[in-house]
């Protein structure tokens, strides 16, 4: 799975789950999710659960922080780091 596919899957999940009705184009790679309150504690856990099940990775408690989850790019980077070199 390449970076674009990962990002697309995450973007689709976020739009469906947390931003219903928003135009896909409005959610860019740099749209801030955690610091703007779109990802709060509950939605963070839901997102983590999705990432773990969809990409078969394990995320630790201390990794569920803003540096890793604030934007699509951050989340994609986290997933890529967990998947390791393909």
């Amino acid at each position: 799975m390449n970076e674009a596919n990962i990002k697309s899957a995450i973007k689709t999940h976020i739009l469906n789950e947390f931003l219903p009705g928003e135009a896909p184009a409005s959610l860019t790679d740099t749209t801030e999710l955690a610091t703007t309150g779109i990802l709060d504690s509950i939605s963070t856990l839901k997102l983590v659960a999705f990432l773990e099940s969809h990409f078969s990775i394990t995320i630790e408690a201390h990794e569920a922080r803003v540096e890793n989850l604030n934007t699509l790019s951050d989340i994609t980077a986290l997933v890529l780091s967990k998947l390791g070199p393909q």
Binding site: F18, T36, G37, I38, I42, I59, H62
Partner: protein, 895 residues
């Protein structure tokens, strides 16, 4: 000490840097001059309004000077400078040392050993802190370090619980608790996971943060955020944002004082349903003090390059319980999320997301409750274990859990910045805002109430709502809904930082102009208001300095007389020193109970230590000198009937104003007609007017007085209510002459002895004019029958709360005059005393001190000399002086 392992991610403030925003605004010097001017204004505003404690005022001055030095330092020295400044303040502030002390030291007015002694608590605080930080960095396993810290904590807690062991350092415990109890947990967590850089200056700056020493409830700052936001935006933008936060904090603190002083927070005074609504709302809004303090602290930290995010975000406009939890005390929420919620969830996620989330939520609230109790222990020396506290956290946990489950199992629509919600969604938001506000307000009142009785009284007051009152409440809720729609959905910052987009568009000059204008108005307001001589002047006066409101004064008085715990005398008193053990013991040994409505009396011929002073009584059960029962020929005798202040609680036997007046009357220079003047003090602590009158009839007339001084004061209304409720609840026997009046009074008010005291008091309140009228009329009648001249003396309170006293005094003295009684109004006798000069015996005890008694004696002597010099036959004078008023001021002019 560990070295930095992620320096690239955490910049120091770049002192020479002027960010892009500033460059665009046209250079740094002008901006910096504007910042300095605003900061100076804010320091002055803190000073004129006497915000928080005197220590805070001194710390603000040091912070202002430190800020200017900090700005001009090379970047690499900034953090070290802030750490050193913080340590300096931590060492000096607990001992009351500030810039003034430094000046005194230089001028030789303050000896070096005195300075060293006053620095002792601060030095102990810093030393203990350094040991705790050192333990965190021991090169042993995490579990061992945690174990060592727990052992240190237990040891310190034992010393804290036994404050009498080391009274010299008693002031440090709340501060030590606020600096280390929670921050050590965060620090260890981040140290373990290496989420931030570590160095000695960073650690010192983090734990001993500059304003912390003034605030036992300092916000729990996340270490990673503390490092990550250090220099995270251009300096001048950070300064201006900090000034904005400080001003916002000041406004919150002033609003808190307004609510505290003027909201109907005394349940016994709830006269209508709107009053009850005011009580519910006012109780909730008292939280403004916490949000104000936190804004002020975070703003001050901005001035030293720590661009921390907001601590509260429009929490009154929360649209759900989870939303409320995320908006109020954001740093706390993020702390428990980081250390409890996420670790618990990730540990239990194999049981399924919803189940793990539910269990993690419950665990988080249990931790929150336990940690609040632990924090309370460090502030007060005892764990907080009350049904109110348990109920509050349990109910909030259930509400948040239900809300969280709804969010977890169904999608909650969020919006990207800039999106406009549909009308239906907006209306929904408004309704949810109102529902959340009402529920939290109710819950908050359960948390804050002193007893279940208080809630019953509020319910009793709410039950009689009129149509108009219902309309007013609905109108208020509609306004709240509109506010929720308009402002409630604005983005909040998290403790992780503010959105990057928000940081780049800061309108420096617009914010500077609004901060400057508001600060100038706040600075000028007290002076402008006090010169107006209106009710506004009284209001402004009451907002300057931290004074107990009528409810807490009453509660303190009840604690004193009714053997409750004085140390729980209300939210406002938590920051003040507590009464030492045994403070009230002498007072209790001084009295014995009675079965009639006098309720208690002073024991004859005893000498005890009460409220720090020796109290001696004579064979007649008076706190006074020895007298013969028969009035000596040629002498003039006055009996004095008052309560504890007139009794002289907290002053020596010869310092009571009654004894001082007697001495002066007997002075040969007084030029009065009698050979000898005797003043017999029949006052008893806690006596209401009814009891004072009965004491005069039972004991006073038998002493053949010429004059009866009937001392009244502002708290007489509360005294009367408390006494009447006690008569009913304890079924105290009533004298035949009093019984018909009191029974009719109770019947008219609809009260029974089985009702809670607070409810009885509330229902009796409307009958107070009837009670005072009856007392004054009977006083006039009985005195005339016994040939005694009655004088009603108004004694002002020593807490200089003229704004609160004036209306009560006018009501009370008006009734006395209507009953044909002469009045001596001493209310101006404390007028020349500066507001910061205490007239009370101790911070925890509001009785008049020796200076206050001296001033009372000055005024009373001046008035009495006039009254007694012109007196003929007492009974005739009483009758002929129906409309007379004797003023000390007028007497001075006359003489």
């Amino acid at each position: 000490m560990d070295s930095s392992n992620s320096r690239s991610a955490h910049r120091l403030p770049a002192s020479a840097e002027v960010g892009s925003g500033q460059r665009a605004q046209g250079g740094g010097w002008l901006h910096f001059a504007a910042v300095v001017a605003q900061f100076a204004l804010i320091v002055l505003v803190v000073r004129v309004w006497k915000l928080e404690t005197p220590v805070f005022g001194r710390v603000m001055q040091i912070a202002f000077i430190g800020f200017i030095g900090h700005h001009f330092l090379p970047a690499r020295w900034c953090l070290g400078f802030f750490a050193a400044l913080s340590i300096l303040v931590t060492v000096t502030a607990p001992g009351g040392l500030g810039i003034g002390a430094l000046r005194s030291l230089v001028q030789g007015e303050l000896p070096v050993y005195e300075i060293a002694y006053r620095m002792l608590p601060g030095l102990v605080l810093v030393s203990v802190g350094l040991v705790l930080i050192g333990v965190c960095h021991l090169r042993v396993r995490l579990g061992v370090r945690v174990g060592l810290l727990v052992l240190c904590g237990i040891g310190l807690a034992v010393i804290r619980a036994n404050g009498a062991w080391f009274p010299e350092i008693a002031a440090i415990w709340p501060i030590l608790g606020s600096m280390f109890v929670f921050r050590l947990m965060v620090y260890l967590y981040d140290l373990h996971h290496r989420t931030a850089p570590f160095s000695l200056p960073r650690s010192l700056a983090y734990f001993f943060m500059l304003p912390n020493v003034c605030f036992p409830l300092f916000p729990l700052v996340d270490y990673k955020t503390f490092c990550a936001t250090c220099g995270s935006e251009p300096r001048l933008t950070g300064y201006q944002r900090g000034l904005q936060w400080m001003l916002r904090g000041i406004i919150h603190l002033l609003l808190h004082r307004l609510v505290y002083q003027f909201a109907p927070l005394d349940v016994s005074m709830l006269a209508s349903s709107l009053d009850a609504v005011g009580f519910l709302l006012g109780t909730y809004l008292l939280y403004l003090r916490i949000s104000g303090e936190f804004h002020l602290i975070v703003g001050l930290l901005h001035m030293f390059g720590f661009h921390l995010p907001e601590t509260h975000h429009l929490y009154l406009l929360s649209a759900s319980f989870t939303d409320f939890w995320r908006r109020i005390n954001i740093y706390w929420k993020d702390f428990v999320m980081k250390l409890f919620f996420y670790p618990a969830f990730f540990a239990m996620r194999r049981w399924g997301t919803v189940r793990a989330m539910s269990l993690a939520t419950v665990l988080t609230f249990v931790a929150t409750w336990a940690l609040h109790s632990w924090q309370w222990f460090w502030i007060r020396g005892a764990l907080l274990l009350t049904w109110q506290d348990v109920t509050f956290w349990a109910v909030l946990a259930i509400l948040v859990l239900i809300n969280a489950l709804m969010e977890a199992t169904s999608s909650r629509g969020r919006r990207l910045p800039g999106s406009r919600p549909a009308l239906r969604e907006q209306i929904n938001t408004g309704i949810k805002t109102v529902a959340t506000f009402c529920a939290i307000c109710l819950l908050w009142n359960i948390w804050s109430c002193r007893s279940m009785e208080e809630l019953l009284v509020v319910a009793d007051a709410l039950a009689g709502a009129t149509l108009f009152e219902v309309f007013v409440v609905i109108a208020g809720l509609v306004a709240l809904a509109l506010a929720g729609i308009r402002w409630g959905q604005t983005r909040r910052e998290t403790s992780e930082g503010r959105p990057r987009a928000a940081a780049g568009t800061f309108p420096f000059w617009r914010v500077a102009a609004s901060v400057s204008l508001t600060a100038i108005v706040l600075f000028a307001l007290p002076r402008a208001g006090s010169s107006s001589g209106t009710r506004m002047a009284r209001v402004l006066d009451s907002l300057q300095g931290h004074r107990l409101n009528a409810r807490d004064l009453d509660h303190q008085r009840r604690g004193y007389y009714e053997e409750l715990d004085v140390q729980v005398a209300g939210d406002a008193r938590w920051g003040l020193p507590a009464a030492p053990d045994g403070w009230d013991d002498g007072e209790k040994r001084l009295h014995r109970k009675r079965s009639d409505i006098l309720w208690r009396e002073v024991l004859p011929s005893v000498s005890v230590t009460a409220a720090g002073e020796t109290v001696s009584t004579n064979p007649f059960g008076m706190r006074d000198r020895d007298y013969l029962r028969e009035k000596p020929p040629g002498s003039h005798r006055t009996v004095v009937l008052g309560a504890s202040h007139t009794f002289g609680v907290g002053v020596r036997d010869d310092e009571t104003f009654e004894n001082q007046v007697e001495d002066r009357l007997n002075d040969a220079a007084s030029g009065l007609p009698h050979d000898r003047y005797e003043m017999l003090n029949l006052s008893v602590g806690g006596y209401s007017q009814v009891q004072r009158l009965l004491r005069l009839e039972v004991d006073g007339f038998a002493l053949q007085p010429d004059v009866a001084l009937f001392v009244v004061f502002a708290l007489d209304e509360q005294f009367a209510l408390g006494h009447l409720a006690r008569c009913l609840r304890e079924d105290l026997s009533m004298p035949d002459a009093y019984a018909p009046f009191l029974r009719e009074l109770f019947r008219e008010a609809g009260v029974k002895g089985t009702m809670p005291q607070a409810l009885i008091e509330r229902r009796l309140r409307s009958q107070l004019p009837v009670v005072f009228t009856w007392v004054f009329q009977r006083l006039a009648g009985e005195c005339a029958r016994h040939g005694v001249r009655p004088l009603v003396v108004y004694r002002p309170g020593p807490n200089q709360a003229e704004h609160a006293e004036a209306p009560v005094r006018e009501r009370m003295l008006g009734l006395a005059r209507s009953a044909g009684l002469e009045v001596i109004d001493l209310s101006g006798c404390f007028a020349g005393v500066p507001a910061d000069e205490p007239l009370v015996i101790a911070p925890w005890d509001e009785h008049t001190n020796a200076k206050g008694h001296r001033l009372l004696a000055d005024a009373l002597f001046a008035a009495l000399r006039t009254a007694l010099a012109g007196a003929g036959d007492a009974s005739e004078t009483a009758a002929s002086n129906a409309d007379a008023e004797i003023s000390p001021q007028l007497t001075d002019q006359t003489l």
